[in-house]
């Protein structure tokens, strides 16, 4: 709760952020031959050290683009247009020179990617890749860096780290590769760790271990964590706050507890209904959200979710014309035209029985 209340209680001036990470009105657009792709369209949220934010949404909802923006990994200029503000520990990243952001990258904010096999260079040993990550930001001898790599691998739960450090990525199993990726991301004690679908490519049995590891290490290092996923089960496990994204915008932003107990956005309901549950009758079918994610070139006017929303136009709400927005100060909210009491009632009476 604290991550949100602090921001909600207001900040001294709009220029000085009070949170460790503050994203304000972030907009990222890509120029393509087919038109302008608005991958992220006005996103605002904040995150404190030691807390975990889960960003949830379908493919193409702008989750990964957001994380790459925070990492400063979009090619500047050229086809990418990025506006808004990203404040990380008092430093603004969108307007910062590329080389400044580069120096923060890996040290202040680090990232774990979805597929640990393709994310590691096949020609270098796991150890060499961790050593490299450490030595960019620390002026130490190869020997010290190597010791650090061994320590980190051991910390990430790789058995016999002293010998496995010289293995190549293809000699590791999938789960071990992701552990090695985590070791590599955490080698510089980053204050912010972004995990982009960290468990999607892994065995179900390994998924829980990796999530546990991320949580343990977060407690140990006190870093802020952003977990990007389409899997509500993952965020349920680790997230303090949840940001639900749809069509490049945030549609619901609240604590994990609130999102899971009393979600208010029809899209969030849809996500929950499409999640398989063990305690449900096998004969019941999953309820997928009808339709497909919107084109980010021609985002539907008004609420981007209206073509798929079962409550569109209910009681004359202007779904097709007016864009529902979250509070611009980054406090919790729901981007929906249905009045809040009615939403709660709908959830209780129409959605819960189907879950």
């Amino acid at each position: 709760m604290s991550g949100l209340t602090v921001t909600a209680e207001g900040r001294p001036s709009p220029r000085t952020p009070s949170s460790f990470l503050e994203v304000r009105d972030l907009r990222v657009a890509f120029r393509t031959d087919d038109g302008l792709v608005k991958a992220v369209d006005g996103l605002t949220f904040s995150l404190e050290r030691g807390r975990t934010l889960g960003i949830v949404g379908e493919s193409g909802s702008g989750k990964s683009v957001t994380s790459l923006s925070i990492m400063g990994l979009h090619h500047r200029g050229g086809s990418v247009k990025m506006t808004g503000e990203i404040w990380l520990d008092g430093q603004e990243l969108v307007s910062a020179p590329a080389d400044e952001v580069r120096k923060l990258r890996g040290r202040k904010q680090a990232m774990i990617f979805q597929d640990p096999l393709s994310s590691m260079h096949p020609f270098y040993t796991v150890g060499a890749q961790i050593v490299e990550a450490y030595r960019v930001h620390h002026d130490v001898s190869t020997k010290e860096a190597r010791q650090r790599a061994v320590d980190m691998l051991a910390r990430a739960g790789i058995p016999q780290a002293t010998t496995r450090v010289d293995d190549y990525p293809h000699q590791f199993s999938g789960g071990m590769r992701q552990r090695a990726m985590i070791a590599m991301a955490l080698v510089n004690n980053p204050d912010l760790l972004i995990a982009d679908e960290p468990t999607t490519a892994l065995d179900v049995t390994v998924q829980a271990q990796i999530l546990d590891l991320i949580r343990d290490l977060q407690e140990e290092f006190g870093s802020a964590v952003i977990i990007i996923t389409h899997d509500l089960g993952v965020v349920a496990e680790v997230a303090d706050d949840i940001l639900v994204m749809y069509g490049g915008r945030a549609v619901e932003y609240d604590t994990a507890e609130n999102i899971f107990t009393k979600p208010e956005h029809p899209y969030t309901w849809g996500l929950m209904a499409s999640m398989p549950r063990l305690d449900r009758e096998v004969k019941d079918r999953l309820r997928p959200i009808a339709g497909t994610p919107p084109s980010l070139i021609n985002v539907p006017p008004g609420c981007p979710f209206h073509p798929r929303c079962p409550y569109e136009g209910r009681n004359g709400i202007p779904c097709r014309t007016v864009v529902p927005l979250l509070p611009t100060d980054g406090s919790p909210g729901v981007a929906c035209h249905i009045p809040s009491p009615e939403r709660r009632q709908l959830f209780r009476e129409e959605v819960v029985p189907t879950l």
Binding site: M71, L73, R102, K103, L104, R105, G106, R107, A110, M111, F113, D115, S118, S119, M120, H121, P122, F123, T125, E132, A133, V136, H137, Y168, H170, M181, M184, A185
Partner: protein, 337 residues
């Protein structure tokens, strides 16, 4: 790793044996299928004036009436241990590796080949260094600035480079730089490196650049394609996410992967050239293996052709072997396979 090298080595030896078998078959077995008799084969070794009886005698002396495997054995033995040719009163020993004597010059083939190898080696090595550096550098820059003016210009020139034959670019270069501007020596100039290294390089600049232009163009296109692919790999994104300087990302993470296919092609190209850069040597009248091969074919000089083919095959197999081993050094995943 050791087992891998041994395996490749054995494969290389086996391959050479097969090549020798095939070469032998082409020259001594295939004509028989086409209906040639031993005497017809022997006719290639003697003057046109010989009558049938002399040919029969010659065929017997050269062993063309022996079973084919005995003949092949003799051919292989000649390569490894040398051969003895009786010329009537005396027996002449042809030291190993013996491919026989040229029909035209009466010289043993092997020493002639070795003489000419220096020229071909100088040409190929010099050109290879130029085309590797230029081709890869242009390819990388083009890929990094995809769609820029540099990229378009470079790829346009590269397309011309791969399309224009040596005997066009070579003659153009000769006519312009040697015969009109008199900056570089005319065709046929060659000085061994041992004699005068500066002169050696000066004489070879035109052939080097002409040959390198052709290959650099191909390498630039290959490198560009490879770089465009690897720079989009996840591990390059990881390298960036570590905060590595862009230079390190490009060279250590991107180029390193993009170079592996280049390595393979480079080995093949170099091996092929060492067996004779036929067009370049002919265009610039350089006395190398390629020129030797052309002369041999034109004059129907069988022992010389045999020698060139085996030498060329040897270089290609050797280059492949080296590439295979280097590949394992470069890509650790290969070592397991």
């Amino acid at each position: 790793m050791f087992a891998y090298i041994i395996r490749r080595l054995l494969a290389a030896v086996l391959l050479l044996a097969i090549v020798s078998l095939a070469t032998f078959a082409i020259f001594f077995l295939v004509p028989r299928f086409a209906g040639a008799t031993s005497a017809d084969l022997a006719a290639r070794y003697v003057g046109k004036t010989a009558d049938q009886e002399q040919l029969e005698a010659m065929a017997e002396k050269l062993g063309f009436n022996d079973p084919i495997y005995v003949q092949y054995g003799r051919f292989v033995k000649g390569i490894f241990f040398g051969a003895d040719y009786s010329t009537g009163p005396t027996v002449e020993h042809c030291p190993a590796p013996c491919f026989g004597y040229s029909f035209i010059t009466q010289n043993p083939v092997w020493p002639d080949l070795i003489d000419r190898l220096g020229v071909t080696l100088s040409l190929a090595a010099g050109a290879a260094i130029i085309w590797l550096i230029v081709g890869v550098a242009v390819g990388v820059l083009s890929a990094l600035r995809k769609g820029s003016f540099f990229d378009r210009a470079a790829m346009g020139i590269a397309l011309a480079g791969v399309s224009l034959p040596i005997f066009f670019t070579g003659l153009l270069a000769l006519s312009l730089f040697a015969y009109n501007l008199h900056i570089f020596p005319p065709g046929g100039s060659y000085t061994p490196i041992g004699e005068n290294p500066a002169r050696w390089a000066y004489d070879l600049i035109l052939p080097w650049t002409t040959l390198a232009f052709l290959y650099a163009a191909g390498y630039a296109r290959l490198t560009r394609a490879g770089m465009l692919e690897t720079m989009n790999e996840d591990y390059v994104r990881t390298a960036r996410a570590k905060g590595l300087p862009e230079r390190t990302v490009v060279v250590k993470h991107g180029l390193r992967s993009a170079l592996t296919p280049i390595l393979t092609i480079f080995g093949l190209d170099l091996g092929l050239l060492l067996g004779g850069a036929i067009l370049t040597e002919s265009t610039f009248s350089l006395p190398g293996i390629g020129k030797y091969a052309v002369d041999a074919v034109v004059n129907n000089d069988l022992p010389k052709v045999l020698g060139v083919v085996m030498l060329g095959a040897f270089f290609i197999v050797l280059a492949n072997l080296i590439v295979d081993i280097l590949y394992a050094v470069v890509d650790p995943r290969v070592r397991l396979a």
